[in-house]
């Protein structure tokens, strides 16, 4: 089977496995949605069991799993008990918000990290290198939640950004341009927090990767033939250094839906994170499972994309086998 074919098959198997585990864990975990209702003496046990069978929660695990599987293939992920709406559209509407946030953060992170990593590797030991290294160390060692809360506090004081949620209360009454402005101002803070934490990590990896290649014999040989430093960097070094960076990018893509939960909760961004959190706390079964599957889909898809990119860019992996015995 071809390289991609095998990766794809593996991805599908992985998703199936995740779904099975989800069902298993939610089954094992204590509590159910109706626990609170049960505590209420005014609601009779019959009502509760009627509700349960209405949502199909009284059927055995395997039957439920089989049903869910079948519907999932038709993009029907069940019903949310708390919201009383189908899961899939609910997830998607929130996921869109999360994607907006994380995609923006991703693009900004990489746009900053790659040039910065290359620059500091090229001028190793220079002032910028040391500053970036120090700042990076600080950002990595301070817990993200602390950074988030601190920035939140500053933003509230500063009053330039708009804090809390994705839109202002009177959003609908804005003009198109004002709507865009409003959105961006709300987006700025959570995106900034994400960019800060991720850049600190990615810059290091890019820098290390570039440094390693800069010291390679073939780069020194090219330098010895008079190739200019710029050309060396871009044509000789970067393609080789990109290899590990692309794997990292795969992780970043993979984390598009799952990496921003904490930031969303703190800034009140109406994304997937807070939704899943809430659903988990209230045992809203199919919402939880649906949310996890959504994230898993992205995670697997991101890694697959990274594999494909590597395949396209590195001639050693794909085309030929090894030469001499």
């Amino acid at each position: 089977m071809s390289y991609i074919g095998r990766r794809l098959a593996r991805a599908i198997l992985l998703l199936v496995g995740v779904s099975a585990l989800c069902f298993l864990f939610t089954e094992i975990a204590p509590g159910s949605f109706f626990d609170e209702l049960r505590l209420n003496p005014q609601i009779s046990p019959e009502t509760i069991s009627a509700l349960r069978s209405h949502y199909g929660l009284d059927q055995p695990l395997l039957v439920r799993y089989a049903h869910w599987m079948k519907s999932a293939l038709h993009a029907d992920l069940g019903y949310s008990i708390a919201y009383n709406v189908p899961v899939a559209p609910l997830l998607w509407s929130r996921a869109k918000n999360t994607l907006l946030l994380t995609t923006t953060a991703l693009v900004l992170t990489w746009m900053i990290s790659v040039p910065l990593g290359v620059w500091t590797a090229n001028r190793r030991g220079g002032l910028l290198d040391r500053m970036v290294s120090l700042t990076g160390s600080l950002l990595i060692s301070i817990p993200e939640i602390v950074i988030a809360v601190a920035l939140l506090a500053i933003a509230v004081r500063w009053r330039v950004l708009r804090v809390g949620g994705m839109m202002s209360a009177d959003f609908e009454s804005f003009s198109a341009w004002a709507k865009l402005q409003d959105l961006l101002l709300h987006l700025a803070l959570p995106a900034f927090i994400l960019v800060l934490s991720e850049t600190a990590i990615i810059v290091r990896h890019v820098r290390a990767s570039v440094l390693e290649v800069l010291g390679a014999p073939y780069v020194q040989a090219a330098r010895g033939f008079g190739v200019s430093q710029t050309r060396l960097l871009f044509r000789h070094v970067l393609p080789v250094a990109a290899n590990p960076a692309i794997s990292l990018l795969g992780f970043s893509l993979a984390g598009l839906l799952s990496g921003s939960l904490m930031v969303e909760v703190i800034c009140g961004w109406p994304g997937l994170g807070p939704l899943i959190l809430e659903a988990t706390l209230s045992r809203d079964l199919y919402l939880v499972i649906g949310g996890i599957m959504f994230s898993a889909l992205f995670m697997v898809g991101g890694n697959l994309l990274a594999d494909v990119m590597l395949l396209a860019l590195d001639p050693r992996i794909s085309r030929e086998g090894t030469d001499a015995l």
Partner: protein, 286 residues
């Protein structure tokens, strides 16, 4: 473990390889999977205490033979007889008693090792593994003494045993590799291009060391090399490999003076080109 048996006659063959075959598979990503026969019919025999050299160009399959003989790889077919016992298809567990009797030294052996290790740690490793398996009892002092003795034997001062291998030169590192290989008192030593890449003077020193060790321990050598000139001074018998097969085998004198196969002639020509131009310069007869 594989100890000396009093019933052995001195000329009994220690190693006998018959119809050895091993293939690898190329491709398998976009391309179709193409099997490549690395070793495609190799036969030779080494009597105890003698030196046999397997020579050939890169890609002729000689390193694969070395790996099969030491069972670092499992051959696809054929027999590898160690004292009459076929180890070619034995399972790992059944191979254990044979492992200490056959050791291998590679080209640039030590550089492919962790530079954080000291000479002591590198040489005692086989002893540690054997102790763990419960086959021999070696406590720390025993090990240290043994390592010291081995280092003396290969010509390196035992005072240096705590130095990191980074502090040793290329030639010294190969000696340490030999010391390690001798730790378990093997009968057969496979030297896979062990002298390649060394300076001329270092090569001569290590070659002399090999001769000394062979005399001291009645070792049997399987030398793998692309350099016929070097090997002709060490080997009793030479086997020439080309395209995965042994194309010519014979005593050194015969191979060198009257080669038959084209591959042999090519290797000889390479050695002779170096030496005949040389002889012309030094005024000797080529």
């Amino acid at each position: 473990m594989y100890a000396d048996s009093p019933n052995d006659t001195p000329t009994e063959s220690l190693l006998c390889v018959q119809a050895l075959r091993k293939q690898y598979v190329r491709g398998g990503i976009w391309r179709k999977r193409v099997p490549v026969a690395a070793v495609n019919g190799v036969d030779f025999e080494i009597p105890r205490g003698r030196t046999f050299a397997l020579v050939g160009e890169s890609g002729s399959g000689k390193s694969t033979v070395a790996r099969c003989v030491t069972r670092l790889e499992r051959p696809d077919s054929g027999r590898i007889l160690i004292r009459g016992i076929n180890i070619a298809q034995l399972r790992s567990r059944d191979l254990l008693p044979f492992r200490s009797g056959i050791q291998i030294v590679f080209q640039d052996a030590i550089t492919s090792m962790n530079p954080r290790f000291s000479a002591l740690e590198i040489i005692e490793e086989p002893l540690l593994i054997q102790s763990q398996r419960g086959q021999v009892e070696y406590d720390r002092r025993n090990r240290r003494d043994r390592v010291g003795a081995l280092m003396v034997e290969v010509g390196i001062s035992p005072d240096w045993m705590h130095r990191s291998i980074l502090h040793f030169s290329g030639g010294q590192r190969q000696r340490l590799a030999l010391a390690r290989a001798l730790a378990l008192r093997p009968q057969l030593l496979v030297l896979d291009e062990a002298l390649s890449g060394l300076d001329l003077s270092t090569q001569a020193q290590v070659a002399n060391l090999l001769l000394d060790l062979q005399a001291a321990h009645s070792l049997t050598y399987l030398l793998i090399s692309h350099d016929l000139g070097l090997v002709a001074r060490l080997a009793d018998e030479i086997g020439v490999m080309s395209g995965g097969q042994t194309v010519e085998i014979g005593p050194t004198q015969q191979i060198v003076t009257s080669p038959n196969h084209a591959a042999t002639k090519k290797l000889l020509a390479a050695a002779r080109t170096a030496t005949s131009a040389f002889a012309a310069a030094t005024g000797e007869q080529a």
